[in-house]
Structure formats: structure tokens, C-alpha cells
């Protein structure tokens, strides 16, 4: 046997093959069908998610639609005024309690400093309270604040007000507590069936 000549290995390829092509094509069709179904299910899920997302009612809409009252109380902290526009009944949450929606309109009076102020309302998370909120800025000095909370038993809702000064006149940027006001739902005459 010469070193340069390859051995004759053709015999190793002399093998009878079982019939696999038909089964392979069948398997391909099954797999394609299965993948198609998965694709359809995924498309349906994504589509539903988009539709649900679009049709989801915002907190603002829920507060406006729910049974409620417009106390109109005005709270002033520093140069900021907060008007209690609406208090509405948002129903019960299992294990958490009764939710109340509150709409506050915040307006800041301009200060003499050249910086611009941003105000933040923080509804205190005391025992038994839950707050989830959104804000909609109306202009440079005013914004709507929408929040849902579980009202404490005494019907008093304390709110901390923070001011953040930004702009060249107040570098470094900082957030400062400028005071607290309390929304007393009982004193404002909000019916108990709305907040309890």
C-alpha cells in the first residue's frame, strides 16, 4: 500500500438508507403548523395587550367618572396654592380597603429669584394608606395632581409639599420640604360613603 495513495473507502458509503425524506417532510409540516400556531397566539397576545393598553382608563378618567364631590378647599404653603378640585369614590381593593381618588390643582406664584420652581405633593404613607398618583403639567406654574389613596380612619390626609429649584439661580439643584397641609375630609363635609 503506497503512502501517497488513499485507501479505497468507497465501500464504507455502500449503505442502504432507510426512508426518511417522507417522514422529514411530514415533520416539517407539523413543525411549520406548530410554529404558525405559536406565531398566531403571540400575535393575538400582543394585539390584545395593545388594545387593552389603549382602552385602559387612566386614574384621571376614573376620578372624573366616579361618584364624588368638589370641595373646592384651597391650601396655601409658601408661594404655592393647592385647590382640592374633586374627591371621588374609587371602590374597594381586596386586603387594602376603600380607595378614594383626589384631584388637586397646584399653582405656584412666581418668586423673585431667577430660577424656576417645581413642586411635588407627597401624600404621606401612614399605616393603612396607599397612594398612587400622576401629574399633568398645565403650564410653567400649574399642574394637576391625581392620586388614589386609602383614607385613614380619622379622614385626615396629610400632604407634604416639596419645592425643587432649578435654573442658574439655584445651583446646585435641590429639593426642599416647604411645609405640610392636611385634607380633612370629614371637616370638608365629604360624605362618609365616599371615603370610608
Amino acid at each position: 500500500m503506497s503512502e501517497d495513495m488513499p485507501m479505497d473507502l468507497k465501500a464504507l458509503g455502500d449503505i442502504e438508507s432507510p426512508e426518511v425524506v417522507r417522514e422529514a417532510l411530514r415533520r416539517f409540516r407539523r413543525r411549520a403548523l406548530r410554529n404558525g400556531i405559536w406565531f398566531l397566539v403571540a400575535a393575538l397576545l400582543i394585539g390584545s395587550w395593545v388594545v387593552i393598553g389603549r382602552s385602559r382608563v387612566t386614574l384621571e378618567e376614573r376620578i372624573q367618572r366616579a361618584l364624588g364631590v368638589a370641595p373646592g378647599a384651597v391650601y396655601t404653603v409658601g408661594n404655592m396654592t393647592a385647590t382640592l378640585v374633586r374627591v371621588a369614590d374609587l371602590g374597594d381593593v381586596p386586603d387594602l380597603g376603600h380607595r378614594v381618588g383626589i384631584h388637586v390643582l397646584v399653582v405656584a406664584q412666581p418668586r423673585e429669584s431667577a430660577g424656576s420652581d417645581t413642586y411635588t405633593l407627597v401624600f404621606q404613607h401612614e399605616a393603612g394608606t396607599l397612594s398612587v398618583g400622576t401629574s399633568t403639567r398645565l403650564n410653567a406654574r400649574a399642574f394637576d395632581h391625581w392620586i388614589q389613596i386609602v383614607v385613614p380612619a380619622d379622614a385626615k390626609v396629610p400632604v407634604d409639599v416639596y419645592r425643587e429649584c432649578s435654573g442658574q439661580a439655584c445651583v446646585p439643584r435641590q429639593s426642599t420640604s416647604i411645609g405640610t397641609f392636611t385634607i380633612d375630609l370629614r371637616a370638608l363635609g365629604v360624605p362618609e360613603n365616599i371615603w370610608r
Binding site: 485507501m7 465501500a11 464504507l12 455502500d14 449503505i15 438508507s17 426518511v20 425524506v21 422529514a24
Partner: protein, 151 residues
């Protein structure tokens, strides 16, 4: 040519490739089938840059690599125990045993070039190396087979 006819024409060499590399019929059959399933999926993407045979064996090789990662080569080989239907049985069994004792990489290049008749360039494209590298590998594989067979 219909896809099914094309596959049928390549069924035997693909099955032989797998059988000589994995060493048992059930795995070889399964891998052959999987190769053609994937070829169906990939058929629309085949642009004709290579021959159909090179394309199919490229898929076969990827199927084999995935199976080897899943522990395919840990199973015992039945290759050398197979009796020969043709030729001199003793010589063929000796050759099969010698071949089966080689490493997978050696068996692969020998299968492609010396058994299935691929040219060095086609085999190199299938294996994913340069033709020069393939020639070196082929030379070493032939040398090793000769050593084992003579012994």
C-alpha cells in the same frame, strides 16, 4: 426537480455520513431526518451560492454539532459489529473497525472526500475551513487510518 426528489437523491450519502460518524443507526436516521426538516425550512433562503450537496451537508454538519453538544458521542458505537453485505466480509469489517477507531474529525474528512467523493474545495466549504487546511487534515486522517488498518 422537486424538493422531495432532491432530498431523496441525497438521502443515502447523508445517512452514510451520519452513520459513519455517530456509529449507530437510530441516531443516524434521526439526524438525517432532522437535516431534511431543516433543509425544508431553509430552502427559500438557499441562493445557489454553493452546490445543493454542499448546502445540505452544511446543514447536516450543524445538526451533528448540536447533537454532539447534547452528548450524542457518549453513546456506544455499533458500527464495527455490522456484517458486510458485499465484497470481502473480513476485509470490510477490518476496514470499518479501523475507520470507527479514528477520531470524529478524521472520519469526517475521510467520509466527505474518500467515501462520498467531495472535491477538496467542496469538502472545505462544508467543514468551514480553507482548502489548504482541509488537505492537511485529510493527509493526517489518511495516515492514521493506514496505521490503524495495517496494525
Amino acid at each position: 426537480m422537486e424538493l422531495e426528489d432532491l432530498f431523496r437523491a441525497l438521502q443515502r450519502p447523508v445517512y452514510a455520513y451520519f452513520l459513519r460518524l455517530v456509529g449507530n443507526k437510530p441516531d443516524a436516521e434521526e439526524l438525517t431526518q432532522e437535516t431534511f426538516v431543516r433543509a425544508c425550512s431553509a430552502a427559500l433562503r438557499f441562493r445557489g451560492d454553493s452546490s445543493v450537496r454542499t448546502w445540505i451537508f452544511g446543514i447536516a454538519r450543524r445538526v451533528l454539532l448540536e447533537a454532539s453538544r447534547a452528548g450524542l458521542f457518549d453513546r456506544p458505537s455499533e458500527l464495527a459489529d455490522r456484517p458486510s453485505p458485499a465484497g470481502d466480509p473480513d476485509t470490510r469489517i477490518d476496514l470499518e473497525r479501523a475507520f470507527a477507531s479514528l477520531g470524529v474529525a478524521d472520519r469526517e474528512v475521510l467520509m466527505l472526500v474518500d467515501v462520498l467523493g467531495f472535491g477538496p474545495s467542496e469538502a472545505a466549504a462544508t467543514v468551514g475551513v480553507t482548502p489548504e487546511t482541509l488537505r492537511v487534515r485529510l493527509h493526517r486522517a489518511r495516515t492514521r487510518l493506514r496505521e490503524v488498518y495495517v496494525r
